[in-house]
């Protein structure tokens, strides 16, 4: 049954990602793209999840669940799918954080847990970096399909996106009154620039 499968997938995503929502991306890329949603739709969902309020990983889980449910037949199942995915992704947090809160002193001084975290942290950096490379490749090589590498080509290099990527990256390091630009401001700017460059200029 697809809903059980969806629950299990998102439960694992919630359980094995330490370091926040972005740390979930490598696992989501491997277990969700091409399994529950086609790649193109996924990237759009990711963009919407970033641009709307709430933690983006939760938004994304709701989105994917909704899509799975609706494809099973109708709006009600859509809401059910969204409920299943969202619940599954927060359930491990709820249980683990509650337990850790009660035994925090032990948790902090546990050689076992701190040792494991010591190894997990750099691994997560490597994993998210790998996800970033994939995201960047799909932006500048639009004919590359991650879920169907055999039928994708390296043609159609999108230099406009590459230039914008560099511009936005530079912009994200600009400091105003000692503070870096809020992610939401950055998203707003990128939407407006997107309309200008891809919409009006038609690049």
């Amino acid at each position: 049954m697809i809903f059980l499968q969806l629950f299990w997938t998102y439960f694992k995503i919630g359980l094995f990602t330490i370091g926040g929502g972005y740390a979930m991306l490598p696992l989501v890329r491997q277990q969700v793209i091409g399994v529950y949603v086609p790649e193109e739709l996924f990237w759009n969902m990711l963009a919407v999840s970033e641009a709307t309020p709430g933690p983006f990983a939760i938004n994304l889980a709701t989105f994917v669940g909704m899509n799975v449910g609706i494809n099973q037949g109708g709006v009600l199942l859509g809401f059910f799918g969204a409920f299943v995915a969202t619940t599954a992704v927060i359930l491990p947090s709820l249980v683990i954080v509650t337990i850790v809160s009660t035994v925090f002193i032990k948790f902090k001084s546990s050689k076992f847990i701190q040792g494991a975290l010591y190894g997990i942290r750099p691994v997560v950096v490597g994993l998210v970096f790998s996800a970033l490379v994939m995201v960047t490749l799909t932006l500048i090589l639009p004919n590359l399909k991650l879920d169907d590498l055999a039928n994708s080509t390296f043609g159609g290099f999108d230099y406009v996106s590459l230039i914008l990527l560099i511009v936005f990256a530079a912009l994200s390091f600009v400091k105003i009154k000692g503070k870096r630009l809020n992610p939401l401001v950055l998203i707003g700017i990128s939407a407006v620039v997107g309309i200008g460059v891809f919409g009006f200029a038609g690049l």
């Binding site: 359980l15 933690p55 190894g119 994993l127 970096f129 891809f198």
Partner: protein, 171 residues
């Protein structure tokens, strides 16, 4: 985000102390899941026990659930519009930049020993060029970290940057 939580939870409602917020950051960053959700669960637990944890977790998730469920139906109509699709293309580029920013903050949390860089590069290569399950990559990292810190480099570990403040609060 932390400053918003602190203002709401410490200054306005008096649910937690400032030291609790320090603990919250450490817990949220070293337990699985979304940091905002973990923070909410912790504050809920501190304030009203297990029921509090459940309610706070539902509270922080509900807006996402409602907004995204609603937006889902608009998305098809949205994306057929040339200008909305163009805006999305812009935002997608921005998402890559946000992921990069996240990597920098994750990088700041990790130790900078050669051992750590080996794990970093190793996990990058395996995740990029093989289909090896990401969960196993993480588990292997945990095991290697455990062995390294218990047998090779037994010095006191740095849990998090706010460690000093935590030790103060424990006294």
């Amino acid at each position: 985000m932390i400053s918003v939580i602190e203002r709401e939870v410490v200054d306005k409602r008096n649910w937690c102390s400032r030291e609790d917020i320090m603990d919250m950051v450490v817990i949220a960053e070293s337990t699985p899941g979304v940091i905002a959700v973990n923070s909410a669960t912790f504050v809920g637990y501190k304030t009203a026990g297990v029921l509090g944890a459940i309610i706070a977790t539902i509270g922080v998730t509900l807006p996402s659930f409602l907004i995204i469920s609603g937006l889902y139906f608009a998305m098809d109509a949205f994306l057929t519009n040339v200008y909305v699709a163009a805006a999305f293309k812009g935002v997608r580029i921005c998402v890559a930049v946000l992921i990069f920013r996240a990597i920098i903050s994750l990088f700041n949390l990790m130790d900078k020993k050669a051992f750590c860089f080996v794990l970093l590069v190793g996990s990058f290569i395996v995740a990029s060029f093989t289909d090896f399950n990401v969960i196993f990559i993480i588990l292997i990292g945990a095991i290697l970290g455990l062995l390294y810190t218990n047998f090779i480099d037994k010095r006191q570990m740095i849990v998090c940057k706010v460690e000093d403040d935590d030790q103060r609060s424990e006294k």
